[in-house]
């Protein structure tokens, strides 16, 4: 089994993931939010590319059965129910409901990976569980770091490295890029919050007033849910 990586959502095209197991990562904060929502009873997350697409899709749902969530510029979108802070997605808010979601980088990465054999969604919260699930297929794995506005994000590479480390322990071969991610993870394996504070996007979220989100997103391995994307929807994989 070979493990490779791409560093931004825009670098993903069909051939990058065709027939492979893709693992989409956007630690700050889309995939941390998706992971949290599903762990808290969300019935499914529908990634959409724009607020307009979100409202269109919402029209097909029964009132009260869904929430609109996401961000532009890191902040809640006007007319939406929730922003992109995973801590907003409490069981009280999201249990038993669908989530229609649009974010700047993470949802684009998910949509760009539609031709993969299997598409998992990972954050630091659930990376060990996703790694185990990804390994089960015996296929090549592509770690898809979403990045921020088309630019490399350190925290996504760190998370990719956490998954790569697990896959390598199981005998997988890592490409140079996957190996680089693994070394980045190794350098901060016991200090995920330090890594998030070092990252540009982490600093940006601090300046926007989200220090608790960084602390939360750094809780590596705290959730077991394995989000998988099929037919337009991310849902918890049956274990």
């Amino acid at each position: 089994m070979n493990v490779d990586a791409v560093l931004t959502a825009r670098d993903v095209h069909g051939p990058t993931v065709d027939g492979k197991v893709a693992v989409v990562i956007d630690v700050l904060r889309a995939t941390s939010t998706i992971t949290t929502a599903l762990a808290n009873g969300c019935t499914g997350v529908f990634p959409v590319l724009s607020p307009e697409e979100g409202h269109e899709l919402a029209a097909s749902f029964r009132p009260g059965s869904y929430l609109l969530g996401g961000e532009r510029g890191g902040l809640k979108i006007e007319g939406f129910d929730l922003g992109n802070s995973p801590r907003e997605y409490t069981p009280e808010q999201i249990s038993g409901r669908a989530l229609i979601m649009t974010t700047t980088n993470g949802t684009l990465a998910i949509r760009n990976c539609h031709s993969s054999y299997r598409l998992y969604v990972s954050s630091l919260l659930n990376a060990p569980s996703v790694a185990k699930a990804a390994a089960r297929h015996g296929r090549d794995v592509m770690l898809v770091c979403s990045g921020t506005h088309g630019v490399f994000s350190l925290e996504d590479a760190y998370c990719a490295g956490m998954v790569a480390q697990e896959l390598r322990a199981g005998g997988a071969h890592l490409s140079d890029l996957a190996e680089a991610c693994r070394i980045i993870f190794s350098g901060y394996s016991t200090a995920p919050l330090d890594l998030l504070h070092l990252a540009e996007h982490g600093k940006e979220l601090l300046s926007l007033g989200f220090p608790d989100d960084l602390e939360y997103c750094a809780r590596a391995g705290s959730l077991n849910v394995v989000p998988v994307f099929t037919e337009g929807r991310v849902a918890a994989e049956a274990s």
Copy 2:
């Protein structure tokens, strides 16, 4: 001062390096060879993009005053004097002579950086000296990893991280990508040869029969020469 990085020669365009100090890196082996040739008395290295361009340029030199060097597929080019093994460039061979050189990745990276404010060439051999020279200009620095055939190379990122570490110690701000390179360097700071053995391109050179080249290219900080590219030629910067 801001320090950023690009991961392959093909990612370099004018705006990437305009007005900045560029540091071109191709550890295995173009920039290790250029560094060695200059340290051993070569009068100047002329990077060309093809063997044909090399022969054309050679016609303007006095016989005996130059050597043709480089590789395709890691091996010496037919009709050339030397290959791309830095260990071939002994004082006996290269002292007092020019070197006309073409390689698959490194010479392309140098040529793509022509619009930079100042263009240095670094390998592990001379990275500490190049970092000091780059810092002196007080301008933003772009670390240009050549990569291999358009794909990321772990050893180039490691060398970029060695330069980034020095610049950061002097107070420079690192982008996420430069920080990632620095963390990769930190993970193997005392074991450069281990890193070269881990890298895909290192393994390829082992299979081609160049284990001594890896051992040589891993001698971090062993040479003080600072190669600088001006007017089509790489020469040692006056200290």
